[in-house]
Each structure stands twice: as C-alpha cells, then as structure tokens.
Symmetry: C2
Subunit: 427 residues, 2 copies
C-alpha cells in the first residue's frame, strides 16, 4: 500500500484579469493543493495566460504534453472573450455543442428569476462534442473533460465558488478513478491556539510514525497553516478503505490532543468565538465584557456568531481611565497604585461588569496596543486579562511585541480562550 | 504623445510552496499590475515552477525568448533549495559571486541583533557575476538584472514586502529607463463610500475625455476596486512630464468629487476610521458609542487607528433590550411602541451615550444582522443609525440584505460616515 506521487499534473488559468494583475489567482493554489493532497500527483507547473486564442492553445498543448492530468479554469463565460470551449474543441478535433441538461437547468433558473435569456447565454452551456460533462451546481457553465496528447484535461469555470465545488465533488473523485490504485483521501483539521507554529511543529514531531509505525510514509501527511492567532494542524490520510482512514484520523486526533493538551480547542471550521458560544449555550451561561485596548473587538468577534444574543449580555469599552471609574467603579487607589494596565485593574473590571449585567461571566482586558504608550516596565504588547466566574477570578498577562492590530487580535482571542476554559469546567 | 503597449513582458515565480498549493501567489498579480500600469508593457504569461534546477532554467529561457522584460521572484533564500542565483548564473554563462555591499549590510544587521552568521547566509547575498544589483532595503537577498536571449530579466526575493519595495523603488524605474519613450506613471486613489460600484462606474462614465478631450486615450486610465464596503477609484496618468501628470490628476480629482459628491471621503490609504479620527482631532471633539447589532465593531474600527484614545471616550454594546433601558435609560414606551430597531430608539441611545460620557458626539446603531430575527416589516438587514451632536440628532435607516458579517460592516461604516459628516461641518 505504498503510493508514489509519480504522476505529473499541471494547472492552467485563463483570463486577461490575471495577466493584467487585476485579480489574484487563488484558483491555482486551491487546485494545486487538492491535487497534492490526493497523494498520487505532483504538480509541476502553474501557468496563466490571456484571453487570446493562440495563447490558450499553446498553454493547453504544452501542459498536456508534459503532464498526465491538467486542470484548467477560466474562459467559460458568456462573452466573446470567453474562448476556452472553442479552443478545446479545436484541439480535440471536434465541434462545440450545446449540453442539453445544462441548457435546461439554465432556462429553469432564468425563468424562476424572471431573467431574459440572451443568445450569449447559450455560449456558456456549450462543451466540445463527446466530452465528459460535469454539472455546475453553483452556476451555469458546466465543467468538462477531454483527452489531449495522452493527458486528461479538465475544464472548470473561473469563479472560485463554482470551481471549488465542481472540483471537490466531481473532478477529484474522477481523477481518483483514473489513476489506478488511487486511495480515498480524508482530511481533518485541529484548531490550536496559544502555542506558536514552531512549538506545534516541535511537539508533533514524529507523530505519524509514533501512531502508526508500520504504515507507509506517504499514506498520511501532516500540514500546518497559520491563521493568526490560530495554528491549524491538518492531517491528510490516504487509504483505499475509508473506514480505515477514518480510524487512523481518530488515533492521530487522540495523540495530537495528548501532545498539545488544552491548546487544541476544536476541530474543523469553527473558530474560538463559535466554540465559546457553544460552550456558553450548553450551560445556559451569559457573558459581559469590559474592554479597553481591544476597543470592542471581543464583542465584535462574539457577535459574528448567529444567535450570540442568547449569551452576550453587555459590552463596555472603557478606553479612558475616568470611564473605568465612572462606569464600573474601579477604585482610584488601584489606578494610582497599579495603573490601568494591571492585574488588579482587570480583576476589578471583570467582577464589576459581571455584576452590573447580572451575567455568569465577566471578561476584562486592559493593555498597551501601541505603537506608542509603552514604558520600560510595561512595553507595547503588555496586556492584562481576567475572567470572573460566580466564585473566582482568573487572570493572565501577555507580552507580545506585535503591531497594534496583532496585539488587539491576540488579546481578544486570549480573552475568549480563558472564557472557554471557565465555561468548559465541570460544574 | 501616444504610448503603445507593444512590449511583451512575463512573470515567473519560483517555489514548491506555490506548486503544492500551500501559498497563494500574490506576487504575480502585484508585478503584472505594476507592469500594466506602466502603460508600455503587456504581460503575456504568468508561470510558477518548482524548486527544480531544470524547471527553473526552462521557465527562464522560455520567458526570455518570448518576452522583452521578465520579472522573476523567489528562490533567493539561504537554503540548498534556493537555486535561482545558480541557474541564472549558469544561463548567463558566468559564476555566482558574493555582492560585497549586501554582505556588509547583512553582517551589520546580524551584529546589531546579536545573531550568528552561518555559512548558509552567504548564499543569500550572491548574484551572477556582472549582474546589475539592486539593494534589498527590507531584507537580505539583493535583487539583480541579467541579459538573457535578448530580454532583460529581473530577479527579486519571494517575500512580498521585500519584493514590492524593490520593485516600486528600483525595478520599475529601471524598466522605465530601458524602454525608450517610457512615460512617468502617477497613480492616485479616491475612496468612495455609500455608492455601489456600478453607480460609481456610471457616474464617472466619460470622465477622462470630459476632463482632457485632446489627450491620447492611453495616457490615462480609470480603474475600480471594491474593498467592501468601500469602492476605490484609481486613476493612472502617464506622461513624460511629471508636473503635467500631477496637474492632470488634480483636474480629474476635482471632476471626480463633483460627480460623486460627498461619497468621496478621502484619498490614498486612510479608510473611514482614520479619516473620522483626523476630523475629530482637528476640532478637539470626542465620541461615545452605543452599539447593538454591530456588537463592538465600530469601537474596534475606531481603535485600530493609533492615538484614537484622544477622541474615543466610551463604547457600550447593548445587545439586550433590558441593557438599553438599564444603561442608557431608553424608555420602555419607545421599546414597546417602536421596538429596539427604530429611529426613535437609536436617537434616544445616541443622546444618552453622548451625555453619559460627556462627549461631543454620540453614535448609536440598532438593527437585524441576521440570519434570523427578521420580520416582514423589518427584514434582515434593517439597521437604524443616529448621530447626536451638541444641538441636533441625525438618523438614517439601511436595508441591505447581506450576510450577518456584511450587515455589521456596512452599518459600522455608515455610522462612521454620519459621524464624519457631523465632524466636518463648519462650526
């Protein structure tokens, strides 16, 4: 069960908006990533060309000559600039024909929206005669596959949400079929907060071999992706047997959590605000915020989650010291003795905002986001945080010398992490 | 003074992280955009290849054979995988040599940071012997230019902030020199808020011809770029005479402001939060916020600007109706009669938070961000806004059926726009 990434693949993206630099080509990276994850292809070249007939033909022929699998996006729209179908048909030695199922779906969609069909729209549902067609479930132009110079060439629309769905649901499985012995690919993501990428890398070193000493080296792979302030740990498992791949991901997940501990706060797409929200809802708890340097960011993050009004009671942004005193009754003595950026101050703020709102938890943050305002004792990046529950207050201090925006983001996410820890405790 | 974009240019980016799909290639779009703006080049191809000696050589030779100008990024790092200098030297028929000024600068930098220089670091300051060298002011590896197959080929590091500075400060001027008759290129951006892209396009239709009827068509160009919720209007002016290009941009700016009116709120990089901040500071004014559906986002945006503590006094996030009553004294009668999402409610909130904080202005927002909570009368996307100054209250209602996140962003920016209007009035 060893899989060798011996098959060469290429990506071709088509469009003047790319060569003029008006649009950053995110499709190439998406497609290259999916092919790489498959574990049976190695992507050799990414090429972008203009909406010029000769250039498109040149790009397709060169890619098909070098590679076995070619993924193409762009140039399938309704305008005269969209030349991909015509060039592909010509290279395959056939005529473009209307794909009837795509035309019917388009007509139904247009009728529902009371749009008028123009002759141009018909251009968009053409494919080279004899091509294998893939439905476009997020748009109009279908995808298709032709054989060219010994390669299988797959064409997709350039719009990312149309391309990505077509790719994941139809093209990648088809490539799996085409390449003999291609395994099932399963992907799982663990979300890590509070540990830097290099430490995550270090703690997970030797992970795959430790969990499955006898598995072939290329049957699973480990990837890191920083989405500040989170680090995402992704494992790709490849196996002909889906249940076996799933079981392996489960074993790896257990080991990842064992090695990284509390830093792993979730799996998949939900970030800290959604995970905190679910924890609060699960125990019928509510939260109130007293923010200083984060300026409202914690409230903004919490309220990006639909339904957050169930547990988010009150937020206060107390940028000025006098407001900390006037709104929350922080004592003048605390401010005089320890300053606003101190453990003492945030503990008072957290308790006070909790009581003011009658919430289960009070969260407070006060710090120096920079670029100015730092002192030798409390340099830029010094942030004090506190979470008050009914019975206790937990505090933490950060020292992260980043940009203003980074300091705010890190502080807001640490506040959510402390809140998650409290809200996840057995009561 | 007609400039024909007759010179073909190409971009080559190098690195396994690109072909594996781990990194989205933003350098190609940046470089293609800069070359396109120059108005004397047309970019034909964007190519990305692996860190493989033969592939790099193949990509460079093909690009240099087709094009007159080739921009290359990547593969200039310190590791054994970084092969670009070696391949470039081999193709030019010379040896790689250490660039002494770059080496000295690296040694000074390392000494200041108490870093130890390893032999690998020396790899990073090599260039092909005889190449024209460009200082890297944001990093270690210098850029360089060689002649290959009749083309001028420019090499830059792959790190975007190193590449972009090198490109703008040194490479683009050098290309201007190389291409006879290349004009000066000046760029200016106007920031527009509150008018959709298609309306901006419509109102600016025929702009260039109206302002300068006799100028050649290709001596200026107009571009739109949506950075939700802003629309950026960019004009590129090309002229051998810089003062003349600048005067033209001034005339265009006057006309753009005449056609778009108050929707143009600024120029250049500063978004609404910075522009509002400058207006508040200019009149020594302060602001307090009462946010509901925006959840803290207005405060977050205001406090992204350094020095915002000078004018930002107090923020309150009052998600629950009872908090609107308890914290700001919104009347139960208003809530019962008009609901929390009403002009009456936000006007009360704006006045109350202004008075509570003793601020010059009070800003209030209450709406339905969705996805649930809408009614036939007040569908998702209904948001009421108010700004209270010392003497008056101005209100506005939005009806934007976007995602939760878009509704929040649009509402927060409209709140800032109303505040800007107040803070810009002659007192």
């Amino acid at each position: 069960m060893a899989f060798v990434a011996a098959v060469l693949a290429e990506i071709v993206t088509i469009g003047d908006e790319l060569t003029r630099g008006e649009t950053v080509d995110t499709n190439s990276a998406f497609l290259a990533g999916r092919l790489t994850e498959l574990g049976v292809c190695s992507v050799g070249w990414l090429t972008s060309c203009r909406d010029v007939r000769a250039d498109i033909a040149d790009a397709l022929v060169r890619a098909a000559t070098r590679a076995k699998i070619v993924l193409v996006s762009g140039g399938l729209g309704p305008t005269e600039d969209d030349l991909t179908v015509d060039v592909a048909a010509e290279l395959a030695g056939v005529e473009p024909v209307v794909d009837e199922p795509s035309r019917e779906r388009m007509e139904r969609r247009f009728a529902r929206a009371h749009f008028k069909l123009t002759p141009n729209n018909i251009r968009q549902v053409r494919v080279p005669s004899g091509a294998r067609v893939f439905d476009n479930r997020n748009g109009l132009a279908p995808g298709f596959e032709i054989a060219l110079r010994g390669a299988s060439v797959f064409f997709m629309p350039g719009i990312p949400r149309e391309m990505s769905r077509l790719c994941d649901e139809q093209i990648i499985p088809r490539i799996g079929e085409l390449l003999a012995g291609a395994p099932r690919v399963l992907r799982r993501i663990w979300r890590v907060f509070g540990v830097g990428e290099s430490h995550v890398d270090d703690r997970l070193s030797g992970l795959l071999a430790a969990v499955d000493p006898t598995a072939p080296a290329d049957s699973a792979s480990l990837h890191f992706n920083v989405q500040f302030p989170d680090v995402l740990v992704k494992v790709i498992a490849r196996d002909e047997d889906e249940a076996r791949a799933r079981a392996r991901l489960d074993r790896l997940g257990t080991e990842i959590r064992a090695r990284l501990g509390e830093a792993v706060y979730g799996e998949g797409d939900d970030g800290l605000p959604a995970v905190v929200g679910a924890a609060l809802r699960a125990r019928g708890a509510t939260v109130a915020l007293a923010e200083s340097c984060t300026g409202g960011l914690i409230g903004h993050l919490l309220t990006e989650v639909p339904g957050s009004s169930e547990y988010f009671r009150l937020g206060m942004v107390l940028y000025a010291n006098q407001e900390k005193v006037a709104r929350l009754g922080v004592s003048e003595a605390t401010l005089a003795q320890h300053g606003a950026v101190s453990r003492e101050c945030v503990e008072e703020m957290a308790r006070a905002v909790r009581d003011l709102a009658g919430a289960t938890y009070g969260v407070a943050v006060s710090g120096i986001a920079g670029p100015s305002g730092g002192t030798p004792d409390k340099p830029v990046g010094t942030v004090h945080l506190a979470v008050a529950s009914m019975s206790e207050v937990h505090a933490k201090v950060l020292a992260y010398p980043g940009t203003r925006s980074q300091v705010k983001q890190l502080a807001a996410h640490w506040a959510l992490k402390l809140l998650l820890t409290e809200a996840s405790k057995q009561s």
